[in-house]
Amino acid sequence: MKISVSHLKKNFTLEHQQTELFQDLSFSVEFDHVLALIGPSGSGKTTLLRLLAGLERPDEGIITINEERLQFHSPKWLKQYQKKLGFVFQQQNLFPHYTALENVMLPLTLVHHEKSATAQEKAIAIMERLKIFQHAAKKPHQLSGGEAQRVAIARALVTEPQFLLLDEPTASLDPEMKVEILDLIAALKTMARPIIVVTHEMGFARTCAERLLFLEQGVILEQGETTPFFDHPQHPRVKKFLSHVFAY
């Protein structure tokens, strides 16, 4: 998978004040399995991921994914594009009035117009694979955070997307569940589907990601392959960040 971003500009209006997040962001990255976006809070990781998903619109600049330019001005194009990707939010964002199984079936029946029986079959298959099928009949409020996140991942994967975007998938989970979900994501690598993940879990990034992008205040300070990145960080700010993170 290849992502290139050139001269990206993105402003935010927070409390009637314009803040510039990305002033002139350009980078290009190529990877096969897992790309991790890391960096301190407020660095723009999540916004970058949302831009890649077409959930945000840049003020200026170009984003291309696998040589295809994202057409932010065309809602129709974006809709088609979004059908081909899977996205998992920080909070699971399941629909509370449907059961876990119905949540997973929903994109198949409504968006991909599959017959209910086929949709159910596929949903059950993916839920079994993610070891969540025993909770299929439960509503989201009856699920633990980790279970709900598994269902959310199942919902994102059931349509067989071309790639998967994960926005801090473990941020709202307790430590044990975190490990569970991280194990699951590591296992997803074998599905031969590129994953882009925003994460604060440096241990996970180290063992699971193959490339890393380090962002701070809307600027990419460093990017590279995982092992050299962690063993010999170049940028002083990255060095400091990593030494803090791995202090305990």
Partner: protein, 245 residues
């Protein structure tokens, strides 16, 4: 269930005590006129049925108009939003009685609509729809942004998002308030007697005019309304409990 039975019992006892009090007070200074009023029971019954009909039709119609107003209020055209907002403000800012008089004697006559039932039901529906619209709009806006985004990223169309994600949640949240609104609708329909619709209140007024038995004419009126509104308010409370569970 025991709480339900307990409440029902206390209401019945309360009503019964009122009845006893009035009967006693009445029989002290003159002979009770219940037999006289009893002869007019068909008038009461017809009026009561008419009220139920008005409320039913108005409920359906006000939900429809209310949905249209919400759609307009959330439209991407600013002029449509302004019109809907203006309508809601005018309806909620003026008394129902004023609206009935104005819309019936001026607007309905102006367009040649002389069917009192139709005009009355429409005016009542319009009145109620403004309240329903504001409830639904509030409900929609209370749904977290994350639900919209989830629907969007899954590829749902705008219609599908409303139909399968937003509205089921809104309606569930609003079911107690909407049930309460139906109770208001039933009570508000009594004002339609002013334009000569023979609903329940009008029936009681007629019986009173014919018999001069004020207490005996209006007491059944209160009971008849309670018969409709009490189950609704209990239903509303049940739904509230279910939602918070």
């Amino acid at each position: 269930m025991s709480i339900f039975a307990h409440r029902l019992l206390s209401i019945v006892i309360l009503l019964f005590s009122f009845l006893c009090f009035f009967l006693l007070a009445g029989s002290l200074h003159e002979a009770s006129q219940w037999e006289t009023v009893w002869r007019y029971r068909a008038v009461f019954w017809q009026g009561w049925v008419e009220t139920v009909m008005i409320a039913m039709v108005a409920l359906v119609l006000s939900s429809l108009i209310g949905s249209l107003i919400v759609t307009a209020r959330r439209s991407s055209f600013s002029w449509l939003r302004s019109i809907a907002l203006g309508l809601v403000e005018v309806i909620r800012g003026t008394p129902l009685l004023t609206q009935i008089l104005f819309l019936f004697y001026i607007a309905a006559h102006g367009i040649g609509l002389n069917n009192r039932f139709l005009a009355g039901v429409f005016i009542l529906s319009l009145f109620s729809s403004a309240y329903i619209a504001e409830m639904i709009r509030g409900g929609i806006e209370a749904i977290p942004l994350s639900q919209w985004e989830s629907a969007k990223i899954l590829g749902l169309t705008r219609f599908q998002t409303y139909r399968y994600v937003i509205l089921p949640q809104v309606l569930r949240q609003l079911s107690p308030a909407l049930t309460g609104q139906l109770a208001s609708l039933i009570k508000d329909s009594s004002l339609l007697s002013i334009i000569g619709i023979r609903e329940f209140t009008m029936a009681a007024q007629q019986v009173n005019a014919a018999t001069y038995c004020t207490l005996e004419s209006y007491f059944p009126l209160a009971c008849g309304y309670l018969l409709l509104t009490l189950p609704l308010s209990m239903g509303s409370r049940y739904l509230e409990k279910r939602n918070s569970a």
